[in-house]
């Protein structure tokens, strides 16, 4: 007879615990989804460019210039390249709002990354840097030492990529094995060190330096940079028609 009230109390207690777990869980997920803002470092945008050139995508005269310091073997860079970058390309680079430059920043702890950077730089000889860049990131799990520690010959995989992309494979292979672009890669890397890059991917958007962003955060930073440009432009340049006159010349 006394069992029923005890059972009821048990059920109440059970419902209470479940509600508490559900509340904590929903709150935690809500927190990570809403508080995912990147750490922002303000940098001096007037730092003159070093000897490094990076690899350009889009308009070199676009109002907002973005620099990415990336490592081909870094999983975060892989996520950025495969998940976020496609939207950035279609919505901001192809529309002429952003000019995007990739700077090599191979991290010493990644065993196969330098070969990957050479593979991409050599594809640039045949105007296929970005195609190789995308293929290397998409295939990261088959050549990365982090994922496949037994992988000691990433070059054979990159060679397959070169074939897939229709490169002149023997010219490309000669470029990679002679390490033709080592100095250029190191130049890009030195530019990152000079700019105090410590992690990859690091993005410099206007006067802000961030690590790994989602598309929405990237777009917000681009909008901020555009607003800064508008603010700092002289009044005459903002008057309607002033820009058009110049363009008509």
């Amino acid at each position: 007879m006394a069992k029923k009230p005890a059972k009821k109390a048990n059920t109440k207690q059970f419902a209470g615990v479940l509600t508490a777990v559900a509340l904590v869980g929903v709150a935690a997920l809500g927190y990570v989804l809403t508080h995912r803002g990147p750490t922002v470092i303000i940098v001096d945008p007037k730092i003159p460019a070093g000897a490094a050139e990076g690899h350009l995508m889009g308009n070199p005269n676009a109002p907002v210039q973005v620099l990415e310091f990336g490592d081909f073997e870094c999983p975060g860079c892989g996520n950025f390249a495969t998940l976020t970058e496609p939207d950035i390309r279609s919505r901001l680079i192809n529309t002429g709002v952003v000019g995007f430059r990739f700077y090599d920043f191979p991290l010493s702890q990644h065993k196969n990354t330098f070969t990957a950077h050479l593979a991409a730089a050599c594809a640039d000889d045949q105007q296929k840097f970005w195609e190789m860049h995308d293929r290397i990131y998409a295939g990261q799990d088959e050549w990365s030492d982090l994922v496949s520690p037994s992988m000691t010959d990433p070059l054979s995989i990159f060679k397959r990529y070169a074939k897939e992309l229709g490169l002149d494979v023997s010219a490309w292979e000669n470029c990679v094995t002679t390490q033709k672009y080592t100095a250029k890669i190191k130049g890009n890397q030195a530019e990152g060190v000079r700019r105090n890059v410590q992690n990859t991917p690091t993005l410099i958007i206007g006067n802000k330096q961030v690590n790994g962003v989602t598309y929405d955060q990237f777009k917000q930073l681009v909008d901020d940079a555009l607003a800064d440009i508008k603010k700092s432009a002289p009044d005459s340049a903002r008057k309607p028609g002033a820009g058009r006159k110049g363009a008509a010349k």
């Binding site: 048990n10 059920t11 059970f14 615990v17 479940l18 777990v21 559900a22 869980g25 929903v26 935690a28 997920l29 990570v32 989804l33 995912r36 990147p38 999983p75 975060g76 892989g78 996520n79 998940l83 976020t84 990261q140 799990d141 088959e142 990365s144 982090l146 994922v147 496949s148 520690p149 790994g212 962003v213 989602t214 955060q217």
Partner: protein, 138 residues
């Protein structure tokens, strides 16, 4: 009842990993271990979908089944108990396989995956204990 609570914890854990894998969470809160290495590996997908989604489905099914076995008409049902034991056994086997991959092939440990493996083992043990209990008389 403990099975339902632990399953609910698992649902949130697996959902968090799924959100990361789908790009809604930019970085895993992972001070130690190598979560990103594990999450970037080829074993982080199964049949084209992130493993974490299958995990979320597994925990959700365990949660619903354990609720059914605790409340209402199916309360104390032996069939539900057997279902929970079988499902959690599959969970243990799959988690064991993933842990083996992490240790032997990836040389990287993800604390969330280890927690999930611990949860499935606990679910399995609890469901076996429940199954061995004599049925309660109303």
């Amino acid at each position: 009842m403990t099975i339902a609570v632990l399953s609910l914890v698992g649902v949130f854990l697996a959902t968090y990993l799924t959100l990361y894998k789908l790009g809604y969470v930019e970085a895993l809160a992972c001070g130690t271990g190598s979560c990103e290495v594990v999450q970037a590996s080829r074993w982080s997908r199964l049949w084209g979908q992130p493993v974490a989604i299958w995990g979320a489905g597994f925990y959700l099914a365990m949660f619903v089944l354990s609720l059914a076995g605790s409340l209402g008409r199916l309360a104390g049902s032996r069939l539900v108990g057997i279902g929970l034991a079988l499902m959690s056994a599959c969970g243990v086997l799959f988690s064991g396989w993933l842990t083996f991959v992490e240790i032997a092939w990836l040389h990287a440990i993800c604390r969330y995956c280890v927690t999930s493996a611990g949860l499935t083992v606990a679910l399995f043990v609890l469901s076996i204990v429940d199954l061995r209990k004599p049925a309660e008389a109303d």
